[in-house]
């Protein structure tokens, strides 16, 4: 909004701004593609571009070495690259949406209770059914995330103050607090759960196959479609409920769609990777700094930035403590937080 100068014709300026935003969007896509290529090549066994190409597209051969490369690319590198991109987009878009819907600049995707719901479900099924395979508890994690999101939204929409952004944020905290306590209680009384929980909590995009990635991508795609539908209304909602109502926005409906989108996005990403904190919050602010307050631009930027950051952090995590690996969720905080703090310090987020 601040880009419109009085002395110049508004249309010319907005055209320039739009061109700049389109160029920025294209640049982000290019960076993402480059990061994806690097992600395919880098790891415990470094591959040359030719080898990656072969692993992706060549027909099976009898050569032992090439078969091995093909195996690495197909079963390890491609899945984790795809998951990092998909989950990163989901968390970035989710972070931008939740800050918009709660009108709270410190709201994170975990706020709706989705992270704590997923953790609680994971710990519970491990303690009760003795499951140990991530493939088995993916669905429980998603179920827990979805139920927690629905409960938070339901509690916040009872009665007169229905859908009030402040109520939503506080209800989210209340439920998160409760679920986190229950999770701890179970984890402390069951060592197997505690052990699983600490790995799950770190947040990682590794070791998940396409059997998990496809359904997760489905949910995230649905969330993205809902997000797209709700963007124009979100712009108007940020002018205040009364203004939005006056301009013909169905407030209850657009809130419901928005919250459903956030639940789908954050819930699916959390189910597949574990809770990755801070990512959504961070990229939402950076995106707002780059694009201004228009959510039709802010949200795509946040999605691409989320994917880039998660992908880069996963790559860095593979390199820094070789031969071991650092979980992407840990790297996001260790790398992203200082960068974000520097931007904050330089006063980039004044009107966030």
């Amino acid at each position: 909004m601040g880009t419109i100068a009085v002395e110049r014709p508004a249309s010319k300026v907005t055209t320039q701004a739009r061109r700049r935003r389109v160029v920025g969007l294209a640049a982000l896509v290019l960076i993402l593609v480059a990061a994806g290529a690097v992600s395919l090549a880098v790891g415990a066994r470094a591959l040359s571009p030719g080898e990656v190409w072969h692993g992706l597209f060549a027909a099976p051969e009898s050569d032992q070495r090439l078969t091995e490369i093909r195996l690495i690319v197909e079963t390890v590198r491609v899945p984790r690259t795809v998951l990092a991109i998909v989950a990163g987009v989901a968390l970035g878009v989710g972070g931008a949406l939740i800050q918009g819907y709660t009108r709270n600049p410190i709201a994170d995707t975990g706020l709706l209770g989705v992270n704590s719901g997923a953790s609680f479900a994971v710990v519970t099924v491990i303690a009760v059914f003795g499951l140990s395979d991530p493939f088995q508890y993916l669905w429980f994690a998603f179920l827990g995330a979805a139920v927690a999101g629905v409960v938070v939204f339901g509690l916040a929409s009872i009665g007169r103050g229905a859908g009030n952004p402040l109520t939503l944020a506080l209800a989210g905290q209340g439920v998160t607090v409760f679920l986190a306590a229950m999770t701890t209680a179970i984890a402390l009384s069951d060592q197997k759960s505690l052990n699983a929980l600490r790995f799950w909590n770190a947040g990682s995009v590794a070791g998940v196959g396409f059997g998990v990635i496809w359904p997760v991508t489905g949910f995230i795609a649905a969330g993205l479609v809902l997000a797209l539908i709700t963007l124009p209304a979100l712009n108007l909602l940020n002018l205040g409920d009364d203004v939005a109502r006056g301009l013909g926005v169905n407030i209850a409906l657009s809130r419901t769609i928005g919250i459903t989108a956030i639940t789908l996005l954050a819930g699916a990403a959390t189910a597949a990777c574990g809770p990755i904190a801070f990512l959504g919050l961070m990229v939402a602010h950076v995106a707002r700094y780059l694009t201004g307050p228009d959510y039709r631009w802010l949200v795509p930027y946040a999605g691409l930035l989320g994917a880039i950051v998660l992908l880069v952090c996963d790559i860095v995590g593979r390199l820094v403590v070789r031969p071991s690996e650092l979980d992407a969720g840990v790297v996001v905080a260790l790398l992203g937080a200082p960068f974000f703090a520097a931007l904050v310090w330089r006063g980039k987020f004044k009107n966030a």
């Binding site: 709270n104 600049p105 410190i106 709201a107 706020l111 509690l155 916040a156 009872i158 009665g159 007169r160 103050g161 229905a162 009030n164 402040l166 109520t167 944020a169 506080l170 209800a171 905290q173 209340g174 439920v175 998160t176 607090v177 409760f178 986190a180 306590a181 229950m182 701890t184 209680a185 984890a187 402390l188 009384s189 060592q191 505690l194 052990n195 600490r198 790995f199 909590n201 770190a202 904190a277 801070f278 919050l281 602010h285 650092l326 979980d327 969720g329 840990v330 996001v332 905080a333 260790l334 992203g336 937080a337 200082p338 974000f340 703090a341 904050v344 310090w345 006063g347 987020f349 966030a352």
Partner: protein
């Protein structure tokens, strides 16, 4: 006021003021009532909590002993064995409640708590480092006092780091919180990393510390917390009179003669120190600082977190949770689990009730 500049003939309903020398405040009977009730409830739970144990003591005897007219056996059990723990509960609760009320007021954001400023995560990271890296035995040699002290250093160090990183020609609420979240995330990531790479036995010990507990407090440990909290509360009370107008915004506050930068710096430092002292005494008991001011606000029907009521809600929440943890629950669950299990739903209940009205 209308456009002609003629004042309307109706007097606005303003609460009556009270003036005692240089100190003046608005007389709001409802807040005083709520505070008195909370205080009474806290004292009751405090006494009940002292009475509960392997050697049960009735409520009248507990009260008599506290006021110095009890039997010798009771006096030994109560004053030497149970008082430190009960007192720790009250003091930590008060510290966290006030700390939360201050940070939420300064940031003008209900989600801002000392946890967000990195104090608890900083303390946790240091404590977990002590337990996991140097091994459980080494941490035992440093002894529980050493662990608390190290955690205190970690918490305060992180809090001050956040403050100085956020300082840029003054402190801005949002910048403080965003920097706080960043530093907090780094500390949490370090903790997670330590937990992932550690031996499972150390992890269990670290995890138990991470939840917060009031078990086995000695007078030595509690004394520091009690005196530290008292001194800080005096400072907060002194600055609080300057603080009220700041809810109207910096410009208005400056117009009313408040040196808001200085006041905010002092209060923020107090908030950090109060939370740090609380964490050193009981571990990072989560959520009390977040929930207590919000609950107090709604009970007292204030637009901003009230200091006294927040302190009392914090004390009641922690003392009550400790009582529940020791009596109602089968396994020895730490108090942090119970504060969250009670505080979270109660906050949600208040929200829902407020919306219904």
């Amino acid at each position: 006021m209308n456009r002609t500049g003629v004042k309307p003939d109706v007097k606005p309903s303003v609460a009556p003021g009270v003036r005692l020398g240089r100190v003046s405040f608005v007389w709001r009977p409802w807040i005083v009532c709520v505070s008195l009730l909370l205080g009474a409830a806290t004292f009751l739970v405090f006494c009940l909590s002292i009475g509960v144990g392997d050697f049960p003591i009735g409520l009248p005897q507990v009260i008599a002993t506290i006021f110095g007219r009890g039997e010798q056996v009771d006096e030994f059990v109560i004053m030497d064995l149970r008082m430190p723990r009960a007192l720790a509960g009250v003091v930590v609760g008060i510290g966290l409640g006030v700390s939360g009320a201050l940070t939420q007021s300064i940031a003008r954001n209900p989600l801002a708590s000392p946890d967000v400023l990195g104090i608890t995560n900083g303390a946790s990271a240091v404590a977990v480092f002590l337990v996991t890296v140097s091994g459980g035995t080494a941490a035992a040699i440093v002894s529980s006092v050493g662990l608390s002290a190290a955690a205190l250093m970690g918490g305060l160090g992180t809090g001050l780091l956040v403050y100085f990183l956020a300082w840029r020609r003054g402190i801005d609420g949002l910048r403080l919180i965003l920097i706080g979240i960043s530093v907090s995330a780094v500390m949490e990531a370090l903790t997670t990393w330590l937990l992932v790479s550690a031996d499972i036995r150390d992890v269990a010990q670290a995890q138990a510390w991470l939840v917060g507990s009031l078990d086995d407090r000695s007078w030595d440990e509690v004394q520091v917390a009690v005196w530290g909290t008292l001194v800080l509360l005096v400072v907060v009370a002194g600055a609080a009179f300057q603080f009220k107008p700041m809810h109207l915004g910096d410009d208005v506050a400056a117009g009313l003669g408040v040196r808001y930068s200085a006041v905010r710096a002092v209060l923020l430092l107090c908030a950090v120190l109060l939370a740090g002292v609380a964490v050193s005494a009981a571990g990072p008991v989560p959520f009390v600082a977040l929930v207590a001011p919000q609950v107090a606000m709604r009970l007292a029907r204030c637009p901003t977190p009230p200091m006294v009521a927040s302190a009392l809600v914090g004390a009641l929440l922690l003392t009550g949770s400790d009582l529940v943890a020791r009596t109602a629950l089968p396994v020895g669950l730490p108090v942090g689990v119970v504060t969250a299990a009670i505080g979270g739903p109660f906050l949600v209940y208040l929200l829902v009730r407020a919306n219904r009205r």
